[in-house]
Every structure is written in C-alpha cells, then in structure tokens.
Symmetry: C2
Subunit: 260 residues, 2 copies
Amino acid sequence: MQTNRPLILVTNDDSVEAPGFHHLIESVKEFADVIGVAPAEPQSGQSSAISVNKPLFITEVKYFSTPQTPIFKVNGTPVDCVKLAMHAIVPRRPDLILSGINHGSNSAVNVIYSGTMGAVLEGCLIGIPSIGFSMLDHSWAADLNGTTLTIKKITGAVLQHGLPAGICLNVNIPAGCTPEGIKVTRSAKGCWNKEYAEYTTPEGRQYYWLTGYFDNVEPTNSETDEYWLSRGWATVVPTAADMTAHDCISGIKTLLQLSD
Amino acid sequence: MQTNRPLILVTNDDSVEAPGFHHLIESVKEFADVIGVAPAEPQSGQSSAISVNKPLFITEVKYFSTPQTPIFKVNGTPVDCVKLAMHAIVPRRPDLILSGINHGSNSAVNVIYSGTMGAVLEGCLIGIPSIGFSMLDHSWAADLNGTTLTIKKITGAVLQHGLPAGICLNVNIPAGCTPEGIKVTRSAKGCWNKEYAEYTTPEGRQYYWLTGYFDNVEPTNSETDEYWLSRGWATVVPTAADMTAHDCISGIKTLLQLSD
C-alpha cells in the first residue's frame, strides 16, 4: 500500500463474498488506498449489534486480497468489523469509512435495523466521516454499474470536505438504472406490517419467520427518501449518531412534572 | 387477565431469567395488566438487531408465568420479542412497552448498542409509548429496590399522558441508592477505547475479546446523563426513532454541490 494517499476502510453487512462490497471497493480505489474488512457471514438486520461474549478472529481472504487492497473477514457483526479493523488491522487512521453496497434498501425506518448503517454509525461515533451505500435490489446478481457515478461523486466530496461532527450519510440508490440525480432528504416514516409467516414443525410446534411489508405512512407528496427513490433518484439522508431528541427535553420535563 | 385495565408489555435484553425483568414487572403491576415477553438467552449489545433468517419459537415460561401475568420467552433478540409479541401474544394493543431493568448502564453513546433500547425503539416505531430502564450495576445480585420509585413515577406519568410521536425514553438509574431525583437531559458524547483484549488459541492463532472503557469527552460541567448519574440522579433522555439530522439537510446539499 502507498502511504501518501488517503485511506478508506470499506465494510458491509452482506459478508465478504457479496458483490456489492467488491463493487464499492472498485468504485473508490481511484481516490485512496483501500482496506476491506467485512463479516465472514451475512449480517443483514444486525443494526449496531456487537459481539460481547465471543472470541473474534481476523482472517485475510486470499481469494480477494491483493498487496494494494488487502481484504479481511471477521466472524462478527459489521460494528465488530469496524472496531476490530481500528484496533488491529488499519496501518493508519482511515480518512473515510464506507459500508456497502448493501444488496437491498436501507431507506426510511430500515436504517434502525441496518447492519450496513450500524458500521457507518460506528465510524461516525469514532469521529471518521462515514457513508453507507445501499441499492434497492436484494439480488446478488443485480447490475451494480448504475451506482458507480453516485458513489464516486459522494465519496469524492466527503473526502474533500469531511462531514459535520456526529453526522454520517445514508445513501440509497435505485436499482437497474442510472439515477436521475442525488437528493438530500429525510427518512420516510412508516412501519412494517404482517411481519411473520407461520409454520408448524413436523412435531406440531408452531414457529414464526420474519417477513412482512413496509407501509410508508407519509402523505403522498412528502419529499422523503422513499418519495425520491420511487422517482428514480439516489437519496442521501444525513443521519445523527446522537439519538437524543433535544427539542423534547423541556416537554418531557413538564410531562413528568419535574420542577427544574 | 382483566380486560378493563391498561396493558403493559415488558421485555428486556438480559433474558427472561434476569432479576431486573421481574423487578420491573412487579414495579408496574399496580398500574396495568402486564405480559412479559423476553429473550430466551442474554442479548446484551444486540441493538435493534432482528432475526432475518431463523425460525422463532414462543414458549410460555411456567416457572414465572401466572394467569394474571403470563411470561413468555422467544429465541431471538429484544426487537424480535416486541415484534412477535405484537403478532402472536398480546390479547390487545399494549398501552405501554417497557424494557429492562437492564443490568448495566445504557447512558451516553451506549444507547446505540443497547438491546434494551432496541426493544424500546421498536415500540416507538409502532406508535406505542415505550420506556427503557437500566441500572448502573452489571451484577444480577444487585439490590434493585432503589429503582422502584423512579420506575413508578415515570411509568405512571407516561401511562397518563403518553409520549410525543416518534419519541421514547431512555431511563438510567444509579446503583445501590435511592436517586436524588430525576433529571431530563441529553446523552453524553464519548467513545470506547482499548476495546479488545488479545489472546492466543492453543494452536497459536490470535483472537480478540470485546472489553475497553468509555471515555466521556464532554466538558466536565456539561449537564448530560453521565453528569447527573455520577451525582446520584436518575436520568431520562428523550430519544428519537427518526435518526435523520434534519438540521444538516441543507448543509450536506451544499457540501455535495447539489443545485436544489
């Protein structure tokens, strides 16, 4: 690896084998030295989960690794990957942490459950500009070429200008097309419905498997990430690592009938 | 169960066997019918993780369950517990979702990793007032009696007045004392350091185990949750389920050099 270029740490939640991870690495190599550290197994829906009680191993993945772009896997979550990369893998502090390209949307409320964004929030907490990229197609066979220009534009700008303290970016990109452009917007509000399929074991015991569909509860003309994605735009949602609802502190004080 | 009283769903992340879970249930029985649905195994650090690819089973825990207060376990995460309770367990929509009492702090940045708060955020996303309670002692042998008045006061007020849409509460309670009182405040900023202990397997392979210490990076007189907890107060942090940094949308647009 060169040492006079910026350094980008790339991770994801779909595992080190996911095409989106390698497409993201290829897309940003022109800007910086790149190190990839990804989960050994798929970690979709792992949010900011950390492995609190198990041994973590780092394995260089010879099949993908090159001297210029070393690639490692960790038997943990996306946040584990970032933490352990910082502790034991990167040769210097990264200038940028990227996560993705996730195979599937992380728009709207899904940011809460997203392992992709878990890694990004971790980067943000340790003070490194961090961006998550997701494409709206779950298939690993999906054509990722339409994402490249969006990734380059956003990565280049953030490498140059940084991000405000405590803020990371959640980028979603429509599937199967070159986006109309990029909109900076907010997460759509909504929730999941009909969340479980029900089955019965051979022994007659009932079990449940997560499924369901997302209900966007926004008015149809609200300009959210869902709104712009459905119109073919890539979306960028500035995302705060501090979840304090600062505007509500005074109201909650009143509600709890506290005097000061 | 009676049907003319409010209904409270109680969950946690330390598992159905944790003393904090049962202390929380006992503390709020006077207000409402209570159903407990907790993870079968400890889920600390599971954040808002969901089980996307495994069968989930619901088991009534006869040892704890009574006709008045049925207790179930689910082989999943705290968020799985809330989702599956809503899908298949509760006889009517709960008026309140409580999570805890967590054995250990969920102050400051730790809300991001907290399984306790994962369940609370899930309740908030589905529009039910939700509160997480944590006590600053990891020991399951800790005396929990000092938490009772704080739990009753906050639960009673929220049952009566509800919470603003999209806002839940993260309550932390000092260990081993009756708190001085309750402060509504914000999360302290900080980060974890020296995060891994290093070991070697009998075969000579290196592995890593999560540990570390939390660095509060706030000025010493900043009135955060850490500040008040260290002075013997219980803290309430209003927490937003929407992580959009609304104030930054315009700035990020400029940073990315987007025209509208």
